[in-house]
């Protein structure tokens, strides 16, 4: 199930970012990020809180505009797209928010249907319901279909967040801290789910996290974000070279916890 990338093999680039700069006022958050994500891989971005991981992934989804640099998704430059074309592109992208961002005035079913009924007008009510049930089965929460988001636990909310993006069958999944704030067992379950999603729906993913277990179990490639740039990139063992002091502090911190 894990995707092993051979060096030198020709690979399709799904997301490419070059020389990306973003700052808020005087605070420079990203300072020249370069990144290429290949078809079918799980690309993990690790970094400490406040290092700009969410900013990076939001820029890829077109929620933030780069101050400088180019963000390409499926060959389209995200910040230059017209509204209509951006919407079309977004139907191929799933974004799982750090906070899950479920619509709290709607039931789980309405949450899942929301984008579907508006973007796939030809679907009948029955087909929509079937799609809802299918993704709920995929995340193992079929029985919650008529509940409100406020009635779910943190881990269940994360799952519904994933289901809500899966329903439009995206080619790309962008996970912002899928395991943050969850207990270790639930974390493992979510990590499994991420891998399942990748093999079942053949998605390309970027996974943002500061959890090493998550990085290790889900990541095909890992990049370490610090001070606005990637300081290391490669497989898990490459990145966590115990000789590098910058990595070591991160490593120690995670395991002492």
């Amino acid at each position: 199930m894990k995707y092993n990338i051979q060096q030198g093999e020709s690979r399709d680039i799904v997301i490419s970012v070059s020389d990306l700069h973003i700052s808020f006022g005087r605070l420079a958050v990203l300072k020249g990020i370069d990144l290429e994500v290949y078809k079918g891989e799980n690309f993990v971005v690790l970094g400490r809180s406040g290092s700009g991981k969410s900013v990076l992934i939001k820029t890829i989804a077109g929620l933030l505009k780069p101050d400088k640099g180019i963000v390409n998704v499926l060959g389209l430059q995200v910040d230059k797209l017209k509204v209509h074309d951006l919407q079309k592109l977004r139907l191929k992208m799933g974004f799982i928010f750090q906070s899950s961002a479920l619509y709290d005035s709607m039931t789980i079913r309405e949450n899942l249907e929301f984008s579907l009924v508006r973007n796939f007008k030809h679907m009948t009510a029955r087909e929509v319901l079937k799609a809802v049930e299918e993704v709920l089965d995929a995340v193992g929460l079929r029985e919650k279909i008529n509940e409100m988001p406020s009635e779910l636990s943190g881990g269940q909310i994360k799952r519904i967040g994933i289901a809500r993006t899966l329903i439009i069958r995206p080619e790309i999944m962008l996970y912002d801290e899928p395991t943050a704030g969850l207990d270790p067992i639930t974390c493992t379950e979510i990590n499994q789910l991420i891998n399942e999603v990748q093999s079942r729906y053949n998605t390309t993913s970027i996974i943002i996290t500061h959890d090493l277990t998550c990085a290790k179990t889900t990541g095909t490639r890992i990049a370490l974000l610090q001070d606005g740039n990637f300081i290391r990139m490669g497989s898990f063992t490459d990145v966590f070279d115990p000789g590098d002091s910058r990595v070591k502090s991160f490593y120690d911190y995670n395991f002492i916890q």
Binding site: F24, G25, R26, K58, Q87, F95, A101, F114, I168
Partner: protein, 263 residues
């Protein structure tokens, strides 16, 4: 971000005010652009109309009714002193249709509906639900803002007519208790002094008030920042700013109506 937020042309407040004016203008322009663009969210518009009605109906009924009674009770002695008690229904008709109905409805709706819209959209903004709509390829402006503004704009005139009627019924209670006037002759008197222009002016003004309440509430909510604190602020500012605008509009409207009436 281009501009350093610490550089102000005037004072912080004055600058913020002008920046607000510019971005509200953009917000309104965007509203009209999206209003006529497919797809239309009819179901959500109906739902929002219902919400506006339900949220404000009770308070509007109560306030209208009480103001009707009190206003009549307080106006009687001076009119009686001039021997003009029989003019009471006319006075009430004019007062309610021209001023009390539209204003009371607008202020109550600003307080109940405007703050509700500000808080609801504000919390959706700070919990990233609006961004979530955006990335799931649904236009949040269309789904959240257009529906709410249309709902308040359509509902305010209806609520205004309702408030006016309830107020006049309250007033009738008092009139009937004192003068034993029949309902038919009461309304006959009350409406005989009210002109066609008065009624239409009230309806048109209410349209504007409704639009103001919707736009300001949505604008504040859509631009909320700083977590939970920002939500409260958005709700609060929505009420204050829309009331301010309603008073300003009322003053302009009075001038225009008087000019049309040739007073």
């Amino acid at each position: 971000m281009k501009k350093n937020s610490k550089e102000f042309v005037f004072s912080r407040r004055v600058d913020a005010f002008f920046l607000d004016v510019v971005s509200i203008h953009k917000f309104i322009t965007r509203f009209f652009k999206e209003l006529f663009r497919r797809p239309f969210e009819f179901k959500e518009i109906i739902h929002q109309c219902y919400v506006v009605g339900v949220k404000s109906l009770l308070l509007i009924s109560l306030t209208g009714f009480v103001i009707g009674i009190v206003f009549t009770k307080q106006s009687r002695p001076p009119l009686v002193a001039f021997g003009a008690a029989s003019w009471l229904p006319s006075l009430i008709g004019i007062a309610f249709v021209r001023a009390i109905g539209p204003l009371v409805t607008a202020l109550i709706a600003a307080g109940k509906v405007g703050s509700n819209i500000g808080a609801e959209l504000g919390s959706m903004k700070v919990t990233e639900q609006i961004d979530a709509m955006d990335v799931s390829a649904v236009n949040p402006f269309k789904y959240l803002v257009v529906t709410r503004v249309v709902a308040t704009t359509v509902m305010l005139p209806i609520l205004m007519l309702y408030c006016t009627l309830v107020g006049m019924m309250g007033s009738y209670l008092n009139v009937h208790a004192n003068e034993l006037t029949s309902l038919v002759s009461y309304f006959d008197h009350a409406f005989s002094s009210v002109s066609f222009i008065d009624v239409w002016s009230a309806v048109i003004r209410s349209f504007f008030y409704g639009f103001t309440i919707g736009i300001v509430g949505c604008y504040r909510g859509f631009n909320a920042t700083n977590g939970t604190q920002g939500v409260g602020k958005a709700a609060n500012r929505a009420v204050v700013f829309s009331m301010f605008l309603i008073f300003a509009e009322e003053l302009v409207a009075v001038q225009i109506t008087n000019w049309i009436n040739g007073i």
